[in-house]
C-alpha cells in the first residue's frame, strides 16, 4: 500500500514482525489486556468485558494497540469470527507475546508486530494515525489523526 501521508511521522517505533504486510489506519489504543471469548462480541468487533475501558467500543477497521491477550483459549477463534463478520481490526500491535495474540494475528492475516524498542501502548493513543510495515519492522505514528 502506498503511503497517503506527506508530513513526517511524530514517532517511529521499531519491532518484530508477527504477521507481515503493510497497513495504514486509525489507532484504537488501550492500556488494558483484552479477552477474546467472553470479552468481545465478534459480530460487531465490540469489547464487552465488564469494567474494561473499551467496553462498548468496536475495533472493526482499526489498528488495535494493546498490551496483550488474556482469558479464554477461544481468543483466536473469536477474532477469526470477527473477520467472517467483517468486523476485524486491520492491524495489531501488542507488547506481550502470547499464543493467543500470535495465533489470532496469524488467522486474521493482518499486519502485526511485537517486541518493540519503545512501548506502543505508552506512546500511541486512540485516534492517532499509524502506518505499519511489519516486514520492515517499523511503525510510523502521527499524533492526533491523519496528517
Amino acid at each position: 500500500m502506498a503511503t497517503t501521508t506527506t508530513r513526517k511521522p511524530d514517532i517511529v517505533i521499531r519491532g518484530r514482525k508477527v504477521v507481515g504486510g503493510v497497513v495504514e489506519g486509525e489507532a484504537l489504543a488501550t492500556k488494558q489486556t483484552i479477552s477474546g471469548w467472553g470479552g468481545v462480541n465478534p459480530m460487531k468487533g465490540e469489547v464487552i468485558e465488564s469494567r474494561h475501558e473499551l467496553r462498548g467500543v468496536s475495533f472493526a477497521g482499526k489498528i488495535l494497540v494493546f498490551p496483550g491477550a488474556k482469558g479464554s483459549s477461544g481468543w483466536s477463534a473469536v477474532f477469526h469470527t470477527s473477520k467472517l463478520a467483517g468486523a476485524s481490526p486491520i492491524g495489531m500491535l501488542f507488547t506481550i507475546t502470547t499464543t493467543k495474540a500470535a495465533l489470532g494475528a496469524v488467522v486474521l492475516r493482518i499486519p502485526s508486530m511485537t517486541d518493540f524498542d519503545i512501548d506502543p501502548v505508552e506512546h500511541i493513543e486512540t485516534g492517532d494515525w499509524l502506518r505499519i510495515d511489519a516486514d520492515a519492522g517499523e511503525v510510523q505514528v502521527w499524533k492526533g489523526g491523519k496528517p
Binding site: 470479552g39 496483550g68 496469524v106
Partner: protein, 429 residues
Amino acid sequence: MVSLTDTEKAMRDGAEGAAVAKAMDLLIRYAEALDAPDFVYCNNIAGVPGSSPQWVKDYYKEDGGDYRAVFSRFDLDSDEVVDVPRMNGFSCHLQGGMDPELWREQGMTEEAFANFRSDEAEVAAHGIQVMKTCTPYLAGNVPVMGEHCAWMESSAVVFCNSVIGGRTNCEGRESTSAAMLAKRIPNWGFHTDAFRKGQHAIKVEVPVDSIFEWGMLGYYTGAAVEDAIPVLSGDISDAALIKHKHFGAAAASSGGVEMYHMVGITPEAPTREVAFGGSDKGETLTYGAKERAEVYERLNAIGSSRDVDYIMLGCPHYSIDQIADAARMLEGRKVHANTELWIFTSRAVKATAMASGYDRILAAAGAKLMTDTCSAISQAVPPGTKVAAFDSAKQTHYLPAIMGIEGWFGTTQDCIDAACTGRWNGGLN
C-alpha cells in the same frame, strides 16, 4: 525462521496429503509469529475441531458449506478446501454447544440440534474422541509429567501445566486442529524449562482450605499477576483435584495465568528455589483478610436483587465428588418454584453419577444434570433469567457480562440454599 526436520519439510510439501500440508503451513506461520525455533512432537491434543454454528457453514457455502469446508477454511486457515482425513494424533473434543438430550430446555432450536448432531458425527468419523468437556482430565485424558500437549480451554491448560506437570501453551482452535493432523506444536513457552519458572511470590496469610477459599485465592491471583507465573506459599491446605480445578479456572479468567506453583503442593515446586529457578523474583504480594474481602466484594459487585432465578453449578464441569456433594445437600429438598438449578458435567462423569444414583436424587429435587456445555459457552439460561448465582469465580466473571444479567458468587451450600429458597443469602464469614 523456524527450523524444520526433513520429515516436517516433507509434511509441509504434501508427502502426507493435502490436509497435513495445510496444517503444517498454518503451524509454520504460527511458529514464526511466536519466534519459536522449532517444533515439538505432540500426541495429546484437545480442541474444538470443525464444530461450528450453521451460519459459519453458510459463510463457506461456496466451498461446500460442510464440515470439510469449515475444517479447511476456518480450522486450518487454508485458502482452498482439502479432504480432511482421520486425525493422526490422540485428539479430543472439548466442550460443545448444547446438551445432547436436554437441548430443548436450553432453548435450542431443532435446526441447531440437527447441526450439533451432524458436527458430532463428523468429529467421531475423524477419529476425534467425543469427550465434550472442559475437564478432559476427568474424562479419560490425563497427561503425564513432561508430556508435550496442545490443549485449548484455559482452565484445562492451567491444570495440565500446574497440577500434572504436562506441558502445554494455551492453544487456540486453529492450532489444535492443525496439531491433530501434524502432531507438532511450536516449541515455545511452556514447552521449555526456563519458561515454567515462577515470576512473582504470593504469601497467603489467611487460611485457604475449602474449595470456596481456593477459588477466591485464584481470582485474586489472576488479577494480581495477570499472565505471569505465581509462586504461592503460606496458609494453603487440604489440596484436592477440585480445589486446583477451581483455583486455576479463576486465575485464568481474572488474569491469564497458565501455570502456577504452590510450594510443597504442585509437582514442579518441591521447594521455593526449584519453583523460582533460584532466589525469589518479581514482586512479593500478600493475600490477607483485606485482599480476601476485596475479592469477595468484586465477585459480588454485579449482584443487586437477592431474588435469584437461576443457579448454575459445574464450571469447570463438576467432578463426581462435587455431584455427590450437591446431591447430599439437595436430598429431601426441592428447588424453589421461581428458581432453576442446572448442574453441568461431562458425559463420562454423568455416567458414573447415574450408576451411583445421584441423577435420581437431583431429579427428585427438581435439578437438571446437563452435559457437554455450560451457560456461558452455550449462552443458554432458563427463560426470563435476570439474577443468577454461582459457586464458580470463573462463571461469575463471564456469564453476567455475556448475558447482561446480575450474578452472585458464594459457596456450593449458598447456591443450593438459594436454589431451594429463591433467595440469595450468601455472605463472607
